[in-house]
């Protein structure tokens, strides 16, 4: 699969995306502030988006881009809900530290 799309081989893109994804994962794991966690989530999604676009280009189909659009919409919707929850969090727990919200165990 060495035939490049704009000179960049597909697998390079994919490895790059995987790195992005992992960065997102690490972000979720190490950050306690909800906002940053949301950012990391976005990062993960966009990692997927990148792959879609690259793959679309690779197969010269529009599907990749279409999917990207969906992902954007999706991310927007999620953030909308998420931020609402964040507001509630700050109201009720008076903090943005996600570890504060860990009352249910067992």
């Amino acid at each position: 699969m060495m035939d490049a799309t704009g000179g960049i081989p597909l697998e390079h893109v994919i490895w790059f995306a995987i790195t992005l994804f992992l960065i997102g994962v690490v972000g979720i794991l190490i950050r306690r502030n909800v906002i940053f966690i949301l950012l990391s989530l976005e990062l993960m999604m966009n990692a997927a988006a990148v792959v879609f676009i690259a793959a679309g280009a690779f197969h010269d189909q529009a599907d990749g881009q279409v999917m990207f659009m969906f992902i954007l919409a999706l991310a927007a919707a999620e953030v909308a809900v998420a931020l609402g929850l964040v507001v509630q969090l700050s109201r009720r727990f008076k903090t943005l530290d996600i570890d504060a919200a860990s009352e249910m165990t067992g």
Binding site: M45, V51, A101, S102
Partner: protein, 484 residues
């Protein structure tokens, strides 16, 4: 492609979407709980009815664009989901009225979620899969965290949201890789482009991500860990909805995915799924063993149940008809009993500011609140898979399927799991039979809508357990018609 037939076939979607808009507008015009509720009910019932209309046009099944393939099976699941939504709405009314400040939007979310779930059984394409999945999930985030001034729901909502989004992105990533490898997003054409080593690698890698995300949505071990907290935190009625519709939807789409693209032809993936199922059966039951909170307990048991259900998934790969039949019957049973259980918790919690979900709260319930308690007994027995109940028929189907597919290990684990299961289900029943301090008079309080709905579910569990033939035949014929 015959447009008219297509329209008829997709009538349920149209009706539901229309209803959704109507309710939304209604809320804009005038906020009235009852009106919103009744509009919702009308919509749902209309949707259910529209299936009957659409069924004529259905025939072998109709492919609407490349995204959706509507057939008998998808209709069957649609009907199941809508019914679940109706039960939810009925039972929810009292709860919403009593506990929520912004009542009307709740039904909006409910309808949206239902709509999303309807797209899943028909999805034949990554896009429709994704959309359906996310419509359900996003509405559920909101529904879980809906009640104000209580900490539990918010915590649950946050956890559910963050983890679920993470899993979604894992699914997405998986899809992307698979797409990269195969050059298509239609289930039927996902075989990797031949002759390229990387292609296979990406394909496998993609499936790893994909299945991990799916396993999360189905709350299979080791992706189960969010389940108890969300179940406990969310309002029982919402929990019921999550446990049934969202999981059911995901499972259906996965079944179709497995059937169309024979992923299990790849040994590695099949083995991974097999392992996950096996672990889930045992770990789920062990976790539930001494759990004292009913909702958490049901969460753990649902982990196990999803594990059992994987048996059907494997059968789908080889004998779709039996696999689907098994899955449908099992899910139908599972829906009824789960909704009954959470419904009971909702009903008995009426009038108390916190939910009565602890095993101490139901001490002697059988004598204090006979009807809900009896229903809970039935549904516990059903979950345990004791005859006379739908749960037994469901489990019987799984045994049959497992033996048909000669998955002896899974069948053995199924036996073991059920064995452990009996223990904690019986503890629920025993708690309810316990003699309460001071003879409490057995008088039913609360809304008759809730109680009767719960009672109906209980009766249904029994009826289907004693005479399942109608359901079984119906399912069988539809599966046949759909040409599996």
């Amino acid at each position: 492609m015959n447009t008219q037939a297509t329209l008829m076939a997709s009538l349920p979607y149209i009706v539901l979407a229309g209803g959704l808009l109507v309710v939304m507008l209604g809320i804009c015009i005038r906020r009235t709980h009852f009106v919103a509720w009744s509009l919702t009910m009308v919509t749902l019932i209309a949707t259910l009815a529209s299936h009957l209309l659409g069924y004529e046009a259905l025939g072998e099944g109709i492919t609407v664009t490349m995204l959706i393939h509507i057939d008998g099976v998808s209709y069957l699941f649609n009907a199941l989901f809508v019914l679940a939504a109706i039960c939810t709405a009925v039972i929810a009314y009292q709860y919403v009225d009593e506990k929520l400040r912004f009542r009307e939007e709740f039904y909006l979310l409910l309808l949206a979620a239902t709509f999303g779930s309807l797209t899943l059984p028909a999805a034949t394409h990554f896009v429709s899969l994704l959309l359906g999945l996310e419509i359900v999930s996003i509405s559920l985030y909101a529904m879980v965290a809906y009640p104000e001034k209580v900490r539990g729901p918010l915590e649950a909502g946050l956890k559910y949201m963050i983890l679920s989004v993470a899993s979604t992105s894992s699914i997405l990533f998986g899809m992307a890789l698979i797409y990269a490898a195969s050059g298509s997003m239609e289930f039927a054409q996902l075989t990797p482009v031949s002759g390229s080593a990387e292609g296979d690698v990406f394909y496998l890698l993609g499936h790893v991500f994909f299945w991990s995300g799916i396993a999360f949505k189905l709350s299979l071990v080791p992706f189960h860990i969010w389940t108890p907290d969300v179940y406990q935190g969310a309002p029982s009625i919402v929990t019921g909805f999550i446990a049934t519709v969202s999981k059911g939807g995901v499972f259906v789409v996965v079944m179709r995915y497995v059937m169309e693209s024979d992923v299990f032809s790849s040994e590695a993936i099949a083995q991974a799924i097999f392992l996950i199922a096996a672990i889930s059966m045992i770990v789920g039951n062990l976790l539930a063993l001494q759990q004292r909170n009913l909702k958490r307990l049901l969460a753990y048991s649902s982990i196990a149940h999803m594990g059992y259900l994987i048996i059907a998934l494997f059968l789908v790969a080889t004998q779709p008809s039996i696999g689907f039949e098994t899955a449908i019957v099992y899910l139908a049973g599972y829906f009824v009993m789960t909704l009954a259980a959470f419904g009971v918790i909702t009903v008995i919690s009426q009038g108390s500011d916190s939910e009565l979900a602890s095993i101490d709260d139901i001490q002697g319930l059988l004598w204090r609140r006979p009807i809900p308690a009896a229903t809970l007994v039935v549904s516990a027995l059903s979950l345990a898979g004791i005859p006379l109940t739908m749960g037994f028929i469901a489990k019987f189907y799984l045994f049959a399927a497992g033996i048909e597919g000669e998955m002896w290990t899974l069948v053995g684990l199924l036996v073991l799991g059920s064995a452990i299961g009996i223990f904690y289900y019986l503890r629920i029943i025993f708690a309810m039979t316990a003699k309460p301090e001071g003879e409490l008079d057995s008088v039913e309080r609360g809304s008759w809508t809730g109680i009767s709905a719960v009672a109906v579910l209980g009766v249904a569990t029994l009826a289907l357990g004693i005479y399942p033939t109608p359901l079984v035949d119906f399912v069988q014929t539809l599966v046949r018609v759909s040409g599996f």
